[in-house]
C-alpha cells in the first residue's frame, strides 16, 4: 500500500524537470548560441567542421615547387593498399630522370582511408587531405586520375564544399 502511494507522488517528475530546467537555463540565458563555448552541437553545414591535423581524408597527389609531380612510380602504395584501389602506369617524360606516372588511378569507392599508402611513400608524393564530404551522384565520379574528365588527384573534390579545405 505504501509503495503504491509513493508511485502517486510526482517526485520523480519534479526531479526530471529540474534537470531539464538546468539545461534550459544554460541555453536560455546565453541567447547568442555561437558564443557559448560549452555547446556540444555545432551548426555544421553553415559553419565548416573542424578536424584534427592528422585527419585522414581523400588521397591527394602533390607537386613540388616547379609544378612537377613528385611521384616516381615506386609502386609502394600500390603494393601496400589493403583494398587495391591504386593503379599506376609507369612512363617516361622528357627531361626527367625518374619514372613518371602516366596513369595514377584511384578508385575512391573502395578506399578505406587507412593511410597505409602515405606511410609507405618514401618521396612524400601523396597525402590524405582533410576532406570528408566525398559523396557523389555517379559512380564515375569516384574514379580519380591524374587527368581526364573526372576529378583529378591534385585538387580537392568539388562536392565537399562544407568540409575543411586543405591547406
Amino acid at each position: 500500500m505504501n509503495k503504491f502511494l509513493r508511485t502517486l507522488l510526482p517526485a520523480d517528475i519534479a526531479k526530471g524537470l529540474s534537470v531539464t530546467g538546468k539545461h534550459f537555463r544554460q541555453v536560455f540565458f546565453t541567447a547568442n548560441r555561437r558564443k557559448v563555448p560549452f555547446h556540444i552541437v555545432s551548426e555544421y553545414p553553415e559553419v565548416p567542421a573542424k578536424v584534427q591535423p592528422r585527419f585522414r581524408g581523400r588521397l591527394t597527389m602533390l607537386k613540388d615547387e616547379q609544378g612537377v609531380i613528385k611521384c616516381v612510380c615506386c609502386l609502394a602504395c600500390e603494393k601496400i593498399c589493403p583494398t587495391q584501389v591504386i593503379t599506376i602506369e609507369k612512363g617516361k617524360q622528357e627531361g626527367r630522370k625518374m619514372p613518371y606516372p602516366v596513369r595514377y588511378d584511384f578508385e575512391m569507392e573502395r578506399c578505406i582511408f587507412c593511410e597505409f599508402c602515405v606511410e609507405s611513400c618514401g618521396f612524400d608524393a601523396i597525402i590524405l587531405n582533410h576532406q570528408f564530404e566525398l559523396a557523389a551522384y555517379n559512380r564515375e565520379d569516384f574514379s580519380l586520375g591524374t587527368e581526364g574528365l573526372g576529378q583529378n588527384m591534385f585538387e580537392p573534390s568539388h562536392v565537399g564544399k562544407f568540409s575543411v579545405a586543405d591547406d
Partner: protein, 366 residues
Amino acid sequence: MFKNEEMEINLGPQHPSTHGVLRVKLRLDGETVTHCRPMIGYLHRGVEKICENQSFFQGQVWTDRMDYCSAVANNLGWAEANEKLLGITVPRRAQYIRTLLNEFNRIASHLIWLGTHAMDIGALTVFLYAFREREDVLDINEAFCGSRLTTTAFRIGGLREDLPPGFEKMVRKFLAKFSDCLEEYEALLTENRIWKKRTIGVARLSAEDAIALGVTGPMLRAAGVAYDIRKAFPYAAYAEMDFEIPTRTEADTYARYQVRMAEMRQSARIIQQCMDGMPEGPVMAKLPKILRSEVNEVYHATESPKGEIGYYLVGEKGSLNPYRFHVRAPGFINLQSLPKMAEGGLIADVVAAIGSLDIVLGEIDR
C-alpha cells in the same frame, strides 16, 4: 474457446531494439519465452579468410571493422599477436600509449553500450549524455590516429607516430570532468524506479553457466568471477598499472550495469596513471624490411571491452602472410548465453538481455 498454442515469432533481423542485424527466433507461450535461438550471419564478410591472403601489415584494417565500437582494443590484440608471431619487442613508451588508447576505447565502448542499452529499455535521455562524452573520446582518437571509428591505431612493432601536440591537454580536460559525468549518468539510472524494475533480477546467468558457456568480460564479472585478462595475463603496460576488477554477485542486468560503470572509473584511473608515468623514448621497434613469421603458431588473448578477444595465427616459418587466422570474438561466444538468459522470461526482457550482452554484430558475424 481459446486455442492454447505456442506462437513462433522473429525478433529482427532489423528490429530497432537490437543492435546490428541480429535475428532471434522466439517461441512464445503467451508472453513467456519458451524457446530462443539467435540467428547470425547477416554481416558476414569473411574477415578471417581475407586476412590469410594479405600481409601481416595489411591485416590490421580488418580488425577495425570487426568490432567497430572498440576498434582500438581489436587493433591492440592483432598487433600483439603479430609481435608474438614475428618475435618483436615493443618500446616501453609505445606500450604506455597503447594502454592509454585502449582504456579510452573501453570508455567509449561502455558509453555506447550504456546509451543504447538504456534506450532499448526506455530511458532515452542517457543516450544523449553518454554520446556527449563519447564524442570527446572520438576526438582524442582522431587527434592521435586521424580517424574516429576505424582507427588503425597501432602498427606491428609499436606506433606510427608519437602523441600529437596538445594531446595531454585534451586527456587532462577529459579526465577532469569524466567522474562528474559518470555521476550524472548514475543519477539518471541507478535509483531510477523504472530502470530498477526493468533490470533487477532480469536475464540471470549464474557463474557456473557463464563459465560453462565460455562467457567472458563484464558478463562474467557480474556473476562474481573476478577474471580479467589485464590482471591474469598482463599485456601492454597493464602489469605496471594499479587498478581493481569490479565484480558483483547478482548476475543480472543491473549487476552488469554496475560492473560496467565501475569499469569506466577504473579505466579513468589507468589513463591517469599512464599520463603521469609516461616514459620517454622511441615509439617504434626496429623492424626488418619484410615481415616474416618466426614461430609457427600463436594465440594471444586480450581484454576487449566485451570480453576476451583472442587472435589465433598460424604462420609457417618464413611466410609473408598468416596460413590460418582465427578470431575468438567475445560477442560471438557471449551471444550463446542468450537462450539461457531469455528462456522462461518475458518477451520484453529479451531486449534487456540482448542489451546487457553488449554485442556488436560486425564482430559476431565477422
